[in-house]
Protein backbone atom coordinates (compact mmCIF):
# COMPACT_ATOMS: atom_id res chain seq x y z
CA UNK A 1 0.00 0.00 0.00
CA UNK A 2 2.77 2.43 0.96
CA UNK A 3 4.78 1.40 -2.10
CA UNK A 4 1.76 1.90 -4.35
CA UNK A 5 1.26 5.34 -2.77
CA UNK A 6 4.87 6.34 -3.42
CA UNK A 7 4.94 5.01 -6.97
CA UNK A 8 1.57 6.28 -8.17
CA UNK A 9 1.12 9.54 -6.30
CA UNK A 10 4.45 10.93 -5.14
CA UNK A 11 6.24 10.06 -8.39
CA UNK A 12 3.99 12.57 -10.17
CA UNK A 13 4.50 15.36 -7.63
CA UNK A 14 4.96 17.99 -10.36
CA UNK A 15 1.31 17.58 -11.32
CA UNK A 16 0.18 17.75 -7.68
CA UNK A 17 2.08 21.01 -7.17
CA UNK A 18 0.55 22.32 -10.40
CA UNK A 19 -2.98 21.54 -9.16
CA UNK A 20 -2.25 23.11 -5.76
CA UNK A 21 -1.02 26.31 -7.45
CA UNK A 22 -4.09 26.39 -9.71
CA UNK A 23 -6.31 26.19 -6.62
CA UNK A 24 -4.33 28.95 -4.85
CA UNK A 25 -4.67 31.25 -7.86
CA UNK A 26 -8.36 30.44 -8.32
CA UNK A 27 -9.05 31.13 -4.63
CA UNK A 28 -7.32 34.53 -4.93
CA UNK A 29 -9.33 35.39 -8.06
CA UNK A 30 -12.67 34.51 -6.44
CA UNK A 31 -12.34 35.35 -2.75
CA UNK A 32 -10.01 38.36 -2.57
CA UNK A 33 -11.69 41.76 -2.55
CA UNK A 34 -8.75 43.80 -3.87
CA UNK A 35 -8.49 44.00 -7.66
CA UNK A 36 -4.66 43.90 -7.75
CA UNK A 37 -4.78 40.76 -5.59
CA UNK A 38 -7.08 39.26 -8.22
CA UNK A 39 -4.52 40.06 -10.93
CA UNK A 40 -1.80 38.39 -8.82
CA UNK A 41 -4.06 35.32 -8.49
CA UNK A 42 -4.55 35.30 -12.27
CA UNK A 43 -0.78 35.35 -12.75
CA UNK A 44 -0.32 32.43 -10.35
CA UNK A 45 -3.05 30.46 -12.15
CA UNK A 46 -1.38 30.99 -15.54
CA UNK A 47 2.06 29.98 -14.28
CA UNK A 48 0.61 26.80 -12.72
CA UNK A 49 -0.77 25.77 -16.12
CA UNK A 50 2.66 26.43 -17.67
CA UNK A 51 4.17 24.15 -15.01
CA UNK A 52 1.73 21.40 -16.03
CA UNK A 53 2.75 21.65 -19.70
CA UNK A 54 6.51 21.76 -19.04
CA UNK A 55 6.12 18.72 -16.77
CA UNK A 56 4.46 16.89 -19.68
CA UNK A 57 7.56 17.52 -21.82
CA UNK A 58 10.05 16.52 -19.16
CA UNK A 59 11.88 13.19 -18.99
CA UNK A 60 12.49 11.79 -15.50
CA UNK A 61 15.81 10.97 -13.84
CA UNK A 62 16.09 7.69 -15.83
CA UNK A 63 16.87 8.03 -18.77
CA UNK A 64 18.63 11.33 -18.30
CA UNK A 65 17.04 14.18 -20.24
CA UNK A 66 18.73 17.14 -21.88
CA UNK A 67 17.77 20.29 -23.77
CA UNK A 68 16.76 19.64 -27.43
CA UNK A 69 20.01 20.83 -29.05
CA UNK A 70 21.63 18.43 -31.57
CA UNK A 71 24.87 17.00 -30.18
CA UNK A 72 26.41 13.61 -31.03
CA UNK A 73 28.38 13.64 -27.79
CA UNK A 74 25.28 13.83 -25.58
CA UNK A 75 23.58 11.00 -27.49
CA UNK A 76 26.63 8.74 -27.00
CA UNK A 77 26.58 9.54 -23.29
CA UNK A 78 23.01 8.18 -23.10
CA UNK A 79 21.01 11.40 -22.83
CA UNK A 80 17.53 11.73 -24.37
CA UNK A 81 16.05 14.98 -25.67
CA UNK A 82 12.99 16.38 -23.91
CA UNK A 83 9.96 17.05 -26.12
CA UNK A 84 10.27 20.62 -27.51
CA UNK A 85 6.63 21.00 -28.63
CA UNK A 86 5.17 22.03 -25.21
CA UNK A 87 8.10 24.45 -24.80
CA UNK A 88 7.07 26.28 -27.97
CA UNK A 89 3.42 26.41 -26.88
CA UNK A 90 4.36 27.82 -23.48
CA UNK A 91 6.79 30.34 -24.97
CA UNK A 92 3.81 31.83 -26.82
CA UNK A 93 1.57 31.55 -23.76
CA UNK A 94 4.01 33.54 -21.56
CA UNK A 95 3.84 36.51 -23.92
CA UNK A 96 0.03 36.27 -24.01
CA UNK A 97 0.01 36.14 -20.19
CA UNK A 98 1.92 39.42 -19.99
CA UNK A 99 -0.52 41.05 -22.41
CA UNK A 100 -3.47 39.78 -20.33
CA UNK A 101 -1.93 41.18 -17.14
CA UNK A 102 -1.29 44.55 -18.80
CA UNK A 103 -4.91 44.83 -20.01
CA UNK A 104 -6.22 43.85 -16.56
CA UNK A 105 -4.06 46.48 -14.89
CA UNK A 106 -5.21 49.13 -17.36
CA UNK A 107 -8.81 48.28 -16.40
CA UNK A 108 -7.91 48.51 -12.69
CA UNK A 109 -6.37 51.97 -13.17
CA UNK A 110 -9.46 53.13 -15.09
CA UNK A 111 -11.75 51.82 -12.32
CA UNK A 112 -9.66 53.67 -9.73
CA UNK A 113 -9.98 56.92 -11.71
CA UNK A 114 -13.75 56.43 -11.90
CA UNK A 115 -14.55 55.25 -8.37
CA UNK A 116 -11.52 56.20 -6.22
CA UNK A 117 -11.11 52.67 -4.82
CA UNK A 118 -9.81 49.27 -5.95
CA UNK A 119 -11.91 47.18 -3.55
CA UNK A 120 -14.55 45.21 -5.44
CA UNK A 121 -17.27 45.43 -2.76
CA UNK A 122 -16.90 49.24 -2.51
CA UNK A 123 -17.12 49.58 -6.30
CA UNK A 124 -20.32 47.49 -6.33
CA UNK A 125 -21.76 49.62 -3.50
CA UNK A 126 -20.94 52.90 -5.33
CA UNK A 127 -22.42 51.53 -8.54
CA UNK A 128 -25.61 50.62 -6.68
CA UNK A 129 -25.88 54.12 -5.19
CA UNK A 130 -25.43 55.71 -8.62
CA UNK A 131 -28.04 53.45 -10.15
CA UNK A 132 -30.73 54.41 -7.64
Amino acid sequence: MIEWFIEELLAKYNYWVSIILILIGFYAMIAKDNLIKKVIGLSIFQTAIFLFYISLADIGPIPKGTAPIVSEEMIHMGYVYVNPLPHVLILTAIVVAVATTAVALALVIRLYEEYGTIEESEIIELERQRGL
Binding site: I24, D58, L105
Partner: protein, 81 residues
Protein backbone atom coordinates in the same frame (compact mmCIF):
# COMPACT_ATOMS: atom_id res chain seq x y z
CA UNK B 1 14.78 16.73 -13.91
CA UNK B 2 16.98 16.63 -10.83
CA UNK B 3 14.65 15.39 -8.08
CA UNK B 4 16.08 17.05 -4.90
CA UNK B 5 16.41 20.50 -6.54
CA UNK B 6 12.95 20.08 -8.07
CA UNK B 7 11.33 19.20 -4.73
CA UNK B 8 13.05 22.05 -2.87
CA UNK B 9 12.11 24.66 -5.50
CA UNK B 10 8.49 23.50 -5.78
CA UNK B 11 8.02 23.52 -1.99
CA UNK B 12 9.40 27.07 -1.85
CA UNK B 13 7.14 28.09 -4.76
CA UNK B 14 3.97 26.90 -2.98
CA UNK B 15 4.97 28.73 0.22
CA UNK B 16 5.71 31.96 -1.69
CA UNK B 17 2.43 31.74 -3.63
CA UNK B 18 0.48 31.39 -0.37
CA UNK B 19 2.38 34.35 1.12
CA UNK B 20 1.77 36.50 -1.98
CA UNK B 21 -2.00 36.16 -1.76
CA UNK B 22 -2.10 36.49 2.06
CA UNK B 23 0.03 39.59 2.74
CA UNK B 24 -1.80 42.92 3.21
CA UNK B 25 0.85 45.24 1.75
CA UNK B 26 0.38 45.12 -2.03
CA UNK B 27 4.00 46.13 -2.75
CA UNK B 28 5.15 43.12 -0.71
CA UNK B 29 2.71 40.93 -2.64
CA UNK B 30 4.17 42.16 -5.94
CA UNK B 31 7.75 41.50 -4.86
CA UNK B 32 6.74 38.02 -3.67
CA UNK B 33 5.19 37.43 -7.11
CA UNK B 34 8.52 38.49 -8.66
CA UNK B 35 10.35 35.93 -6.48
CA UNK B 36 7.74 33.33 -7.47
CA UNK B 37 8.33 33.97 -11.20
CA UNK B 38 12.10 33.83 -10.76
CA UNK B 39 11.91 30.50 -8.90
CA UNK B 40 9.60 29.21 -11.64
CA UNK B 41 12.25 30.20 -14.22
CA UNK B 42 14.79 28.18 -12.21
CA UNK B 43 12.44 25.17 -12.25
CA UNK B 44 12.17 25.38 -16.03
CA UNK B 45 15.91 25.60 -16.61
CA UNK B 46 16.29 22.60 -14.31
CA UNK B 47 13.66 20.75 -16.39
CA UNK B 48 15.82 21.39 -19.52
CA UNK B 49 13.48 23.89 -21.17
CA UNK B 50 16.00 26.72 -21.22
CA UNK B 51 14.17 28.89 -23.78
CA UNK B 52 11.06 29.03 -21.59
CA UNK B 53 13.30 29.65 -18.58
CA UNK B 54 14.97 32.76 -19.85
CA UNK B 55 11.77 34.13 -21.36
CA UNK B 56 10.07 33.75 -17.98
CA UNK B 57 13.00 35.39 -16.18
CA UNK B 58 12.93 38.39 -18.54
CA UNK B 59 9.20 38.77 -19.18
CA UNK B 60 7.51 37.19 -16.15
CA UNK B 61 9.87 38.35 -13.41
CA UNK B 62 10.86 41.61 -15.09
CA UNK B 63 8.10 43.13 -17.21
CA UNK B 64 5.12 41.90 -15.15
CA UNK B 65 6.65 43.27 -11.94
CA UNK B 66 7.31 46.61 -13.63
CA UNK B 67 3.70 46.77 -14.87
CA UNK B 68 2.31 45.90 -11.43
CA UNK B 69 4.46 48.52 -9.68
CA UNK B 70 3.45 51.12 -12.29
CA UNK B 71 -0.22 50.28 -11.67
CA UNK B 72 0.33 50.43 -7.90
CA UNK B 73 1.90 53.90 -8.14
CA UNK B 74 -1.35 55.14 -9.68
CA UNK B 75 -3.66 53.47 -7.14
CA UNK B 76 -3.38 52.69 -3.42
CA UNK B 77 -0.72 50.57 -1.75
CA UNK B 78 -2.60 49.02 1.17
CA UNK B 79 -5.36 46.47 0.95
CA UNK B 80 -8.41 47.31 3.07
CA UNK B 81 -10.10 44.52 5.04
Amino acid sequence: MIVPIDLALLTLIVIIALAAITVRDLLSAIMLLCAYSFLMAMVWVEMHSVDVGFTEAAVGAGATTAFLIAALSRTVRWEKK
